[in-house]
Amino acid sequence: MDKSELESGALLDKGSEEATQERENNGTPWQRISPIALVYFLLMFFKNIFSNIVYLAPAIILGYDKVTEAPQLWLPIIFGVLGLATLFSILSFYFFQYRLSNQQIEIRSGVFSKTNINLPFARIQNVELNAPWYYRPFGYTSMQLDTAGSTQKEAKVVAIKETLALSLKKQIIASAKQARQVNELNAAHPNENGLNEERLKEQSGNEEPWVEIEEQEEVQLDSRNLDDLVIHGLTNNRIWIFLGTMAPFIDNASEGIGNFLRRFGIHIEDYLLFDGMSMWQMTWHVISIALFFLIPITLFSIIGAILTFHDFTLHRSGDRYIRRSGFFTRNEITMRLSRLQMIVQQQDWLDKFLGRRNLKFEQSNANITQSQSGQQSNKILVPSVTKKECEALMQDAYPDNQLDSIAFNKVSWRLLLRNLLLFVTPILTALYFVFVSNDYEDSIQVYVLIAFIIISLSCLRYWRWGYAIDENYVYIRKGCIGVNYYCFPLHKVQQTVFKQSWFLKRNKLCAVQFVLASGMVSVPYLSQTDGVKLIDLCLREVEESKRNWM
């Protein structure tokens, strides 16, 4: 505070004038956030610069040449940038004000372009608390307020005491709930919330621990241990997170590794020369090189998984799911059960081998632009759960779903035919010219092996396709070596698409797409009668039940 007062004396006068005016109007004084937010704004400044690096690139390249000619400029430039960043963060901090009054929150922010957000508590759908690592020692957190869908504005209280944030959150949720109950009384139709409460009552007979506790109290549904995360890291490559941050250094790193290995008499360049090798030798070399790179990648991937999902917990409080995780930045995602659009179960080939799967609760992605980068949108992903845990979680969200027992209908074999003709044949022809026409040894054998793999993969892909429907849900299965299952309630459908080409029409087949608020799912090459039935049932459920989708 002191610093900012010194830095911008003139602005202060104007600001306090405004503040007194507002005070007269509304009675509640504007509040500043904690100075710890300076760090946040500083980081945001650099983040913004780096995310706009494309636009700055020409200037940087030109400037770089100039500066290398005159090295004495380095110091002033660095100080200039740092000074600008500091000034920016101090100003942002100075102009960021919020106040709570009358069941609403007002946020004023922005240095050049001012924004003024006014949010009644009743309109707030979601409250997310995220604590970056530099906040945690001081007990601060940032509070993201999520409204119903279409607002592009980011309503975020950047730094607030954790205890205050928690009590505010309680208050907001309570008043939002009250507003909803009033709405329910007004609307004659039963919707999600009513059903949820019924569900809760129904289940209270069971001996599930979470039902007996008060609605607002959180019940832990799931948590992940270190071994789960190691498995998750193995099966899901999170290397890209690392590569993204390491990209500027990759060139240096590869050179460094090369030099390092040369000391032991290993010459990478020689290793990559394939002259005078037989096909088998070459394959062996490729595999060993791949392994050489795969091991560090896997290690990084495991570290990535541990950092992202450290201390993962999934709680349920009333109709809300709350997911928390993160090693450095503690990330919290809250989702109301009624906002859940689709459950996705992902099982990669390695997952299949280890008997694990990833469970995703997907909600509307309308405000995906609003969510911070680095945060995995607003899905709740439960990493590497066992079959049993997965079933329990799914039963908790959608008690009447039959994903595990329902019989899937197969799609037409013509899909396989099309894929073989349209995709596999051209690839194999191209490969034939690459391999067989060049005179490597054993090339025919390798070609046959590759052809066999590609063809069996496309057969497998066809084999995995499946769809099913019951009174409440649509189930879709697809995949190749791994399997993905999708399950969504009929009434969550936003739009349906029925597709048919001439070829499909002649064979009484069609393709069907369901547009949900969380994205689109499709089924190819199913029989026309089934496709029409699927669409009719979905449209009918939407239009007849008139249940809300969020």
């Binding site: 459908v493 597709k499 080409s501 608020a517 009719d536 449209l539 939407v542 008139k546 989708w549």
Partner: protein, 182 residues
């Protein structure tokens, strides 16, 4: 797949009894729409070729050979593409049709790959009428319907008579489910 509910539910399509998307009767778009698209295509191609002609025949600026080649190739591509598109549109545009039922609105399009998009009215978030300069000249309008499915899945019907488009919009806006569940 046999659990079809039978309650008091009506989604009548004028005089059809069975509630299925298979037998909806589609109404065609305005005849002016296909014509306008043909003229627009022709106009674009003509404008481009006039520009090319002017550019290559003028004598003020010397054009490098490479650029001249590029222009020649691109004009072939554009005129050929324009011809193909016109051909396709000639057959495809009449396939575009829409239908309004009590509870949903559907749009059919596509010649070889035909597509029927159905949008339940109670999932609609907002409606827009869009009219470009040509649309305004011809008294046409494009109806855009937005749902929570996102911008990629905006439901739109082009080439409606203005009056019809306004009627449709009014029907959607005054639909009883929209006001409660919007």
């Amino acid at each position: 797949m046999e659990n079809i509910k039978t309650a008091d539910f009506s989604n009548q399509n004028i005089d059809e009894d069975q509630v299925t998307i298979e037998n909806i009767e589609f109404s065609t778009l305005s005849k002016k729409y296909a014509t306008s698209r043909r003229w627009l295509g022709l106009l674009v191609c003509l404008t481009y070729s006039t520009l090319v002609l002017f550019f290559t025949k003028q004598t003020w600026i010397a054009i490098p050979n490479g650029l001249l080649n590029a222009i020649t190739i691109s004009s072939f591509v554009i005129s050929g593409g324009g011809l193909l598109i016109t051909f396709y549109c000639h057959f495809a545009d009449p396939c575009k049709a829409y239908n309004l039922r009590e509870q949903d609105i559907s749009y059919r399009c596509g010649l070889i790959f035909s597509k029927v998009i159905s949008q339940p009215i109670l999932r609609i978030q907002h409606v827009e009428l869009k009219r470009g300069p040509i649309d305004r000249k011809l008294g046409l309008a494009k109806l855009q319907v937005f749902s929570a499915g996102g911008a990629l899945h905006t439901f739109e019907i082009p080439g409606l008579e203005l009056e019809k488009a306004e009627q449709l919009r009014q029907f959607i806006l005054s639909h009883k489910d929209l006001t409660i569940h919007g």
